[in-house]
Assembly symmetry: C2
Amino acid sequence: MLLGSIEAGGTKFVCAVGNEDYRTMDKTQFPTTTPEETLQKCIDYFKKFDDLKAIGISSFGPIELRKNSPKYGYITNTPKPGWADVDFVGTIKKAFDVPIHWTTDVNGSAYGEYVISTLFNEHLNSLVYYTIGTGVGAGAIVNGQFIGDLGHPEMGHVRLKRHPDDLDFKGICPYHGDCLEGLVSGPTFEARTGKKGQDVPLTDHVWDIMAFYVAQAAIQVTLTLRPGKIVFGGGVVSEEFLKKVRGQFDKLMNGYINVGKLEDYIVMPAIKENGSATFGDFALALLEYRK
Amino acid sequence: MLLGSIEAGGTKFVCAVGNEDYRTMDKTQFPTTTPEETLQKCIDYFKKFDDLKAIGISSFGPIELRKNSPKYGYITNTPKPGWADVDFVGTIKKAFDVPIHWTTDVNGSAYGEYVISTLFNEHLNSLVYYTIGTGVGAGAIVNGQFIGDLGHPEMGHVRLKRHPDDLDFKGICPYHGDCLEGLVSGPTFEARTGKKGQDVPLTDHVWDIMAFYVAQAAIQVTLTLRPGKIVFGGGVVSEEFLKKVRGQFDKLMNGYINVGKLEDYIVMPAIKENGSATFGDFALALLEYRK
């Protein structure tokens, strides 16, 4: 059985075909240009494969995922030029009459990491996946399901207690200034230090400030969802950085609740090479097929 | 059919008996003393009723609600003298061989408000209930279920952006200082102003500071869970105060996502006279009975 995956990012699209074991058989990627051109490329790619049974799509957003909305399957009010109000699912569905699973990019990644994690821990039934890159977003699985009554989570925009050495930094979120994304997304390095993130050594104090904020996000989501695991992906994240995050988390939590070994709780993605969303898409496509 | 409810608070217990329509037929309350005496009073109360089919318990915490734990049904490491490591469910179960539903006080209230709300809005499938009183806690329903893989939510202890006019106040949480509970629980009025909350007029600026923090909690939970509704109960909350909270929420959200009419989204309990938990207990007892 062949399953399709579209990981739709604001910069590039990754299309892949996999089997029932969620193993990638073939994969391609191309830059995100206009919706017409980019979605046509997806269609052309999948046309090469006979007998595609279902497709999982993980998309940048915001997107409409309330099934009772007439705009279900659309990218909604994105600031990305040309992409607002685009009927993503409808366009793909016209070309392929197969079941399609539709969710956010971070939900797709969360699901991939969740499926992998349950292989090793059968009691796990919730997981949160954060990406910290150009922007900050998160997806969540609770009781084995995605969450959100009025839409998908937007955890990148929560407010945080400011670090005493960072009070003068206004933050760069155009909506909120110093929300999580405004304080820790990749471009904050240039805003704070004039240097790109990859050029700022981990010994620089700015990484402690970053860890203080990211740890607070982990605390918020821990106290709100009590998830089994929190996964951090995205260009800003490294194992060395997560060590700092764990240290701050421990200090801020102050023994209040027990989350088990922090090294197993706050982790990098188990699926390497940014493959979490593709893996998740295959699993979600299969779920959709079996419905 | 008769259903039982125990709302176990740190100060008082409320026991009640109701029918399948969750209507209270009889009710009593008594102060929380030792576990032996207090739980015996619950047992003596329910013994008066023949044919009790199930009992719902909503308890102060922290409690163990992971079914695979040997301590399931216990109050765990509460600072309340005598009550740590008490087998609440086991004690009741020994007296009544009926199905028992066990959850936190705020989850019980959340469930009561959820059931009532779904009568008016069939699309609602998630709700958050905060209590702001002596302490701050919250319960949550997501996709019709309670949440928490490693335990129940503890949303009272999240960190927040500090109000510029409140930077000198250290907060009163013994664990975290200036977490949500440390900044907005009832006793913070005395700590900040030397006066009890009920003696501080709503025109006092301290209420704006409180609203700024409570609005941030609502923002966090909105961006994390995207619930259909947020209910605020507890002694500190009034409709006048929630007006201030809605104003701050609107300002902080800055149009980022749409939650519908704020007057329908951030609300007081629909069930009056602190009856949310009893109502929720009846509904949960019935669920447990029908399992």
